[in-house]
């Protein structure tokens, strides 16, 4: 008997010990509500419209630090010997800009390499970088770039017109099958010629306004040192060498990429002496690493951990992402525009977005995110009207439809395709349409899409270069795995190719707004949301901007 009591007591005490972690965690969660509110109140001072702004999709201020749109000047007395630590959810694929396609590679690459052009601090307007200026010929087919003089790659090689030609040729005439963005960035380039040591000329095969934006991308476009590239047999994945403000030190696989300040940098030198990009795959472990002071900035977080971050006194950076999360109608199967309209009327998008993404995604009122050129607030999407939807669908005799969805979370839909599909299924059910859902993991899903056996499917897009053509082209793509609505419309294709060759400006923006309205009127897509990029950082981090492209440029970021 005595033994049993002792055993029972031991059992209980061990259970309590093991639960300690859980209990404390819950307590943190419960405490959060009040903490977050406090922070929000403090943060909202002088920014009373924050909540209203969320509705329209502009950046908001919630438990967050300053949402900078431009990097501030760095004070003289900042510690220049500091190390800045950034944690992300996966190891980079590689560190050669020509060989990668992932955000985890792109972020370290942005510190070590530069392209001819760069984006604005918090938008996708192009600015000079390694090219000081450029001219476009009248026919729009020749681009001449005047290069910055006195720039050297990290290995001491001079940056000049020959280096540019080497880089372009590498991804055009000498392209290999693993150069994932070569066609995207340089697909329109017929040839690249050296005019003089600091002037280079690109001949294009057709007029292409997105070309300038392409040259500012972190994938494909950054310039690599020709000497280093030859020495590494044409693959700089493990021996990166660019002109950027930070130089590569080492890459401990699955652990960290370490880089140090480039003391010979041509522009303003980096503030932190060392930057470390660590890999912490588990979401909650990454958050603990932040709150435990092991790292200064983390990204790739979702709404579930926001409270944990803010209650530990860390700050949140919320920026609208360059992406779109949408449902596409298979226009080859659901051919009647009235049916598509009725189905779109059945879904209450604001309610759906609020409940699924808890305020960390904004409702999509157009295909293009609000900060991109070509976005127009005047584009009218089909409004929520379940009564009308029910009536029309009844008249048309639509009772059963088939939807395809992916099971994974995606960068534009953190709630997973399956969850979104089930929510949509609920709305369609209310208007008398039974929707069956077939869901697959992402890779199988892409294969299944090719067969076209669906009435509706879920999809999304992550923008590459900040140009509207990058989003709108999806609806003209011939590949059924890209143009999942299987939309084939000559008029649209003509509008698209005309807009792609127009000069940037109001006329071009208006052309895209017109195309947006055409797609909305025909109900080809049901735009759902733009996922925000969420980052967490410790409160003494200053001058931090998470760029809408998903990149970070940390040379001016520092800790107090």
């Amino acid at each position: 008997m005595k033994r049993k009591v002792i055993a029972a007591l031991l059992c209980t005490s061990m259970a309590i010990t093991l639960m300690a972690g859980c209990g404390s965690n819950k307590k943190t969660g419960a405490d959060n509500a009040s903490d977050t509110t406090k922070t929000e109140t403090a943060g909202d001072e002088g920014n009373a419209d924050a909540d209203a702004e969320t509705e329209t999709g502009t950046t908001e201020k919630k438990a967050s630090g300053e949402m900078l749109t431009k990097f501030a000047d760095v004070p003289e007395d900042v510690d220049k010997e500091q190390t800045l630590r950034y944690a992300q959810g996966a190891d980079p694929r590689g560190l050669d800009p020509a060989m990668i396609d992932d955000g985890e590679s792109s972020k370290p690459i942005c510190q070590m390499y530069e392209g001819l052009l760069k984006y604005g601090d918090s938008d996708t307007e192009v600015e000079p970088c390694l090219a000081e200026s450029w001219e476009i010929s009248e026919d729009g087919l020749t681009y001449t770039f005047k290069l910055r003089e006195g720039v050297k790659f990290h290995d001491g090689t001079d940056f000049n017109a020959e280096a540019v030609k080497y880089n372009v040729d590498r991804q055009t005439v000498n392209k290999t099958e693993d150069m994932l963005y070569a066609d995207f960035v340089y697909g329109d380039v017929a040839e690249c010629n050296v005019v003089d040591e600091y002037t280079v000329e690109f001949k294009l095969t057709k007029k292409s306004t997105p070309f300038l934006n392409n040259l500012a991308m972190s994938l494909g476009a950054p310039m690599v040192s020709p000497t280093a590239c030859d020495a590494a047999n044409g693959n700089l994945n493990e021996a990166p060498c660019g002109t950027g403000p930070y130089k590569f030190v080492r890459w401990d696989k699955n652990e960290a990429v370490v880089m140090e300040r480039n003391e010979d940098y041509w522009g303003d030198k980096g503030v932190a002496k060392e930057i470390i990009f660590s890999t912490i795959p588990d979401n909650s472990a990454r958050v603990v690493a932040l709150t435990n002071g092991e790292v200064d900035i983390i990204d790739g977080i979702d709404a579930t951990v926001v409270d944990q971050i803010t209650s530990a006194g860390c700050l949140l950076y919320q920026a609208e992402g360059m992406n779109i999360n949408y449902m596409a109608y298979n226009t080859q199967k659901v051919t009647d525009p009235d049916v598509r309209k009725a189905l779109s009327e059945a879904v209450n998008i604001p309610e759906l977005v609020d409940s699924l993404y808890k305020g960390y995604a904004s409702q999509a009122t157009s295909i293009l995110p609000t900060f991109m050129p070509g976005y127009s607030a005047d584009v009218k999407q089909t409004a929520y009207n379940p009564d009308d939807a029910k009536k029309i669908l009844e008249e048309k005799g639509i009772t059963e439809l088939k939807m395809m969805a992916y099971t994974n979370p995606r960068p534009y839909n953190t709630a997973t395709g399956q969850t979104l599909a089930e929510a949509l299924q609920g709305y369609f059910d209310k208007v008398g349409v039974k929707v069956s859902i077939d869901s697959y993991d992402w890779t199988t899903y892409k294969e299944k899409l090719g067969a076209g056996d669906y009435d509706m499917c879920l999809y999304g897009w992550i923008g590459d270069n900040g140009d509207p053509d990058n989003f709108m082209y999806l609806l003209a793509h011939e590949d059924p795995e890209m143009n999942v609505a299987l939309y084939r419309n000559e008029e649209y294709n003509t509008m698209l190719s005309e807009a792609a060759s127009m000069e940037n400006g109001d006329d071009r923006n208006a052309a895209y707004a017109k195309m947006e309205q055409k797609i909305a009127d025909e109900n080809i897509w049901l735009p759902i949301s733009h996922q925000q990029n969420l980052s967490g950082y410790v409160s003494n981090v200053q001058n931090f901007i998470a760029h809408p492209t998903g990149n970070v440029f940390l040379s001016k970021t520092y800790k107090n």
Binding site: D252, E255, T279, S284, N292
Partner: protein
């Protein structure tokens, strides 16, 4: 003995052949097509087809397998689809992390497991016995990922005593000599790095060792109980040998045989990549890496890692058998063969 070892090593060949066959065909049947993963968002049907062609995935599976085996025999396991780096290099750069963690974990598990097992058997049915066995029951039943996350939340998130992830603070990392953080920092006399490496090791090692410790403790206890009931123990006691000496010299040494087997096999499985522990603690070893590669359908890497794990298992078994002979002079391998 030498003949025996050679014979066992030769047995590796059919084992590896079988394992390679299974993993090769399983990956091709079950894993999704790598082309869309490797080529990313802009993958078109055309580009995916080109890529499959370039990587030999359009060849008949048997041809692909023969090519793989030809390469593997010469030590070339191919290149990773995703990173384009040679598989052997990718594995070699991550293997020391796994070995270091596994060895520390098995040392912890063996020390505490044997102590708990011995105390439990000697003080049978006492509070120590019940407590020890309860702890080992918890050890085998608690899911590692859950325990890992709980320990992170408690010791890193709330108490801020220990780091939650990684092997060492990257800015303190010593130059790579052996690839083992602790040894490298000792070689270079860097006490700051040594301390940091040890501190980083605590949570993953404790998490990883718990299961093995529980198994070892249970095995030690039952083996000890059996031995303590033997006639020669009674004789030893009757001769007036002290209880401590009886336990240590007469009982424990004899009881260690099955325990050695368990320790060896546990070390084998820990070296094979402690997948969950490595993932939770962002430990840059092969377990963590393999998971990522399975997700990306990176066939060459998964094949390479599985072959490596098979080799480790066979070798660990062999080592355990050889150790038997040292522990128990009655075992002679040559005799068995006669």
């Amino acid at each position: 003995m030498f003949k025996y070892i050679i014979k066992r090593l030769l047995q590796l060949i059919p084992v590896l052949f079988g394992v390679s066959l299974i993993v090769f065909f399983l990956m091709r049947v079950c894993a999704p097509d790598p082309a869309p993963i490797v080529l990313g968002q802009h993958a078109t049907r055309e580009s995916m087809e080109e890529w499959r062609e370039a990587n030999g995935l359009n060849e008949p599976v048997v041809t692909q397998y023969v090519d793989f085996i030809k390469g593997a025999v010469t030590g070339d396991l191919g290149t990773s689809y995703y990173t384009k780096a040679p598989v052997t290099k990718e594995i070699a750069s991550r293997f020391p992390a796994t070995v270091e963690l596994a060895i520390i974990a098995i040392i912890l598990a063996a020390i505490f497991g044997i102590i708990i097992g011995v105390v439990s058997s000697v003080k049978k049915n006492s509070i120590f016995d019940n407590g020890g066995m309860l702890l080992s029951l918890v050890g085998v039943s608690v899911p590692i990922f859950w325990l890992g996350i709980m320990l992170i939340i408690l010791f890193s998130g709330i108490l801020h005593w220990l780091p939650s992830s990684g092997r060492i603070d990257p800015s303190l990392r010593p130059d790579t000599v052996t690839g083992f953080m602790i040894i490298d920092s000792i070689i270079q006399g860097d006490t700051v790095a040594l301390k940091d490496a040890v501190v980083h090791m605590v949570l993953p090692a404790v998490t990883l060792s718990l299961y093995s410790m529980a198994i070892i403790a249970r095995m030690t206890r039952s083996s000890m109980l059996e031995t303590l009931n033997q006639d020669y123990i009674r004789t030893a006691r009757a001769k007036g040998i002290s209880e401590g000496k009886v336990t240590r010299k007469h009982a424990l040494r004899n009881a260690m045989l099955p325990v050695t087997t368990v320790i060896g096999l546990q070390l084998g499985s820990l070296l094979g990549g402690a997948v969950l522990t490595e993932s939770v603690y962002a430990w840059p070893g092969i377990g963590n890496y393999t998971v990522q590669c399975i997700m990306k359908s990176d066939f060459p890497v998964v094949q390479g890692v599985v072959l490596l794990i098979a080799v480790i298992f066979v070798l660990m078994n062999l080592i355990v058998d050889v150790i038997y002979a040292f522990l128990d002079p009655r075992i002679k391998f040559e005799k068995k063969e006669v």
